[in-house]
């Protein structure tokens, strides 16, 4: 994350707002980078399963730029329709689906939907993040 003077705050998020879309190509550089974390994850025809999280996180990071330091991950789900192949380009839509305050923590709910170049759904995910600002 780069240096951002003004972080997004809990109050800035609008429920049901689309925050943006981000394209990612599952290229050799990205897969090689994955192997540095998990060297035994060998892609077959499809990318390693862990790339579902990587595509979702990179898209979230690209769209939600002004994240405050110290955010914490509360829950996460992923549902796969089709695991993309190495070399494919996919597009991920990032949305806010809810926000709530519980005790001292402010939680923001996000949904990501990742589709292939034909518009076919590859996978979607939901995350709940404790927002630090």
């Amino acid at each position: 994350m780069g240096q951002v003077a003004n972080f997004l705050t809990f109050e800035d998020f609008v429920v049901d707002a689309e925050l943006g879309r981000h394209d990612i190509t599952l290229d050799t550089a990205l897969l090689d980078s994955w192997k540095k974390v998990f060297p035994t994850d060998q892609p077959g025809d499809a990318v390693p399963l862990g790339m579902v999280a990587i595509v979702s996180m990179r898209s979230y990071a690209a769209v939600v730029l002004a994240r405050p330091p110290g955010n914490l991950h509360g829950t996460q789900s992923y549902h796969i329709t089709r695991l993309p192949a190495a070399g494919e380009t996919v597009t991920t839509l990032v949305k806010v689906t809810g926000k709530e305050q519980k005790r001292e923590r402010r939680w923001v709910h996000f949904r990501t939907e990742t589709r292939d170049v034909t518009g076919g759904l590859c996978f979607f995910g939901s995350s709940v993040i404790a927002w630090a600002a």
Binding site: M1, L30, S33, W34, K36, V37, F38, T40, D41, A46, P48, L49, G50, V52, A53, I54, M57, R58, A61, A62, R67, P69, G70, N71, L72, H73, G74, T75, Q76, S77, Y78, H79, I80, T81, R82, L83
Partner: protein, 128 residues
């Protein structure tokens, strides 16, 4: 029918976390900045939650090597932080919903991540 998922264990290192920050583009200082992390409520560096979740994917891949993954879903809750040097192990058992209850425990037996895995029914029953 597989009653239990194949367990997978990994020891988490700062090197893994740093590489995961690069591949995920998540450089939250709670993961990569020891000074910031020490002063945070976590009291030190913690691993990205989804780094640990990859052990669940690895366990599924080991248990069902022929699965094409369409129709697979996971839902997890991050219960406790995973710290540098922790050795974490994922285990899972068949539940009444014909999915798997999964948990990841650290070397002290504490559950750090808990959740469920949903698989296409034919995967578990062996139906064509």
């Amino acid at each position: 029918m597989q009653v239990e998922l194949s367990p997978v264990t990994s020891r988490i290192t700062q090197d893994m976390i740093n590489h995961y920050a690069v591949v995920s583009d998540d450089f939250n200082p709670i993961h990569v900045d020891p000074e910031f992390a020490r002063g945070s409520p976590m009291g030190g560096i913690i691993a990205h939650g989804t780094l640990s979740v990859n052990l669940i994917w690895q366990s599924l891949g080991k248990t069902f090597p022929e699965l094409s993954w369409g129709g697979v879903g996971i839902e997890v809750r991050f219960m406790r932080p995973v710290r540098v040097g922790d050795s974490i192990t994922v285990t899972g058992g068949l539940n009444a919903e014909l999915g798997y209850d999964v948990k990841i425990c650290n070397q002290n037996g504490e559950t750090v991540i808990a959740g469920k895995v949903k698989l296409p029914p034919r995967t578990i029953t062996g139906e064509a």
